[in-house]
């Protein structure tokens, strides 16, 4: 079976078809997939916090409604992804526990604080923009349930980026203080956004295997370049400066040259020593603990209903 399975798996990858949950797959593939999907799901859930903090402080009912919808989307994206991870035999509750105990990671970008409402706009523009660059190729990832979840996520992500950019355009038409607020937020989020694509390919040990399995389709550096090239004209249209003295158009390459992010900082933040790591996990742990009684009550209610007999509301519609 294993040898047959291995041949079928190799052929599936070779022919660019999708691997589905009950297919045979190498242990390494399964482990890599669970790790990547879980890390992605955790990022969506932790990613609710930096913007969630601003829902009550957003300056108008319109902005509150938009931000609420966006944060609700992040929750939804996390759940699509946990569901995809569960098709590989992972358990959602167990994954949450691994997150809270620090045994699984999430994107380091969410370990930076959102100091002003300008940050909310910049997160939509740059952070969600970088996420879109990363995620669009994942819609063709070799694992079927992950690719399908990514298609759904990408459809919704575009709203996130556009609301952020629109918010920034509005602030840039405002007072000098509002424009400074936007520029200040851009200065703080630019480098962490570039770090979202991961370390340079040469220092990214898992990349080659993930490319061979067609989990990943592009290298980190290629996607980072694509993001920079997309973002520069958007920054110009907005009227902000990207905080990189080495950033300039290279006519020969027909791409932008740009500086290196501080990879030592990246490693520190990934290792747990960013400005908000402890607060993010403490918040997630508290939400989990404070929600426990609700989950228990719902389970007890469902058990009692089962004992009382079948539900009357069956039937297809």
């Amino acid at each position: 079976m294993a040898t047959d399975g291995a041949a079928v798996f190799a052929e599936t990858i070779e022919k660019d078809q999708r691997v589905e949950p009950r297919d045979w797959m190498p242990d390494g593939y399964r482990k890599t997939m669970v790790r990547q999907i879980a890390q992605h799901a955790h990022s969506e859930i932790i990613g609710m916090q930096p913007e969630g903090e601003w829902i009550t402080r957003a300056p108008s009912l319109r902005r509150k409604a938009i931000l609420l919808a966006k944060v609700q989307d992040e929750a939804g994206h996390g759940l699509y992804l946990y569901a995809a991870a569960e098709t590989l035999g992972a358990d959602r509750g167990d994954l949450t526990r691994r997150l809270i105990e620090g045994r699984q990671k999430y994107s380091s970008i969410f370990n930076y604080p959102t100091l002003t409402f300008g940050d909310v706009g910049v997160i939509g523009w740059l952070v969600d923009g970088a996420a879109i660059c990363n995620q669009v190729p994942l819609c063709r990832s070799s694992y079927g349930p992950y690719a399908r979840a990514m298609i759904r996520i990408c459809k919704e992500e575009s709203f996130h980026q556009r609301q952020g950019y629109e918010l920034l355009m509005t602030m840039m038409r405002g007072t000098p203080a509002q424009r400074d607020m936007v520029q200040n937020a851009v200065n703080r989020w630019w480098w962490p956004s570039l770090m979202m694509f991961g370390p340079p390919d040469a220092d990214s040990p898992n990349s080659a295997q993930s490319m061979a399995w067609k989990i990943k389709r592009h290298g980190n550096d290629e996607l980072r370049q694509r993001f920079v090239d997309m973002t520069v004209p958007q920054a110009e249209a907005l009227g902000v400066t990207l905080p990189d003295p080495r950033l300039r158009w290279n006519a020969e390459r027909e791409q932008h040259d740009f500086g290196d992010p501080d990879w030592a900082e990246f490693k520190r933040v990934v290792a747990g020593d960013g400005p908000m790591n402890k607060a993010r996990i403490a918040h997630r742990r508290r939400a989990d603990e404070e929600g426990a009684w609700v989950r228990e009550a719902a389970a007890a209610h469902a058990a009692r209903r089962r004992e009382a007999g079948p539900s009357p509301s069956g039937g297809r519609s």
Partner: protein
Amino acid sequence: MSDEIRHEWPLFEVFVRAKRGLNHVHVGSLRAADHEMALHHARDLYTRRNEGVSIWVVRSDDIVASGPDVKDAFFAPSGDKAYRHPTYYSIPDSVPHI
């Protein structure tokens, strides 16, 4: 205590009818304590943007599926029955409407 219970919510598969006249299509799965909660969660999770007019939820462990190991036994026999397809039959071009 809570450690034991928190993972006991069963898994449900969700099917959404995008609009009248179309089949319900599988969109994903979720965890819920019972069918009623599964419907509500499915509404929140899979139809935030007018994706549907009707939802089915089915407990995942109630689904019986053919596995990849029986793929040939199930589906290979239809491979050599070309005569089930209309293009198998040659009809002169001069014959209309067929």
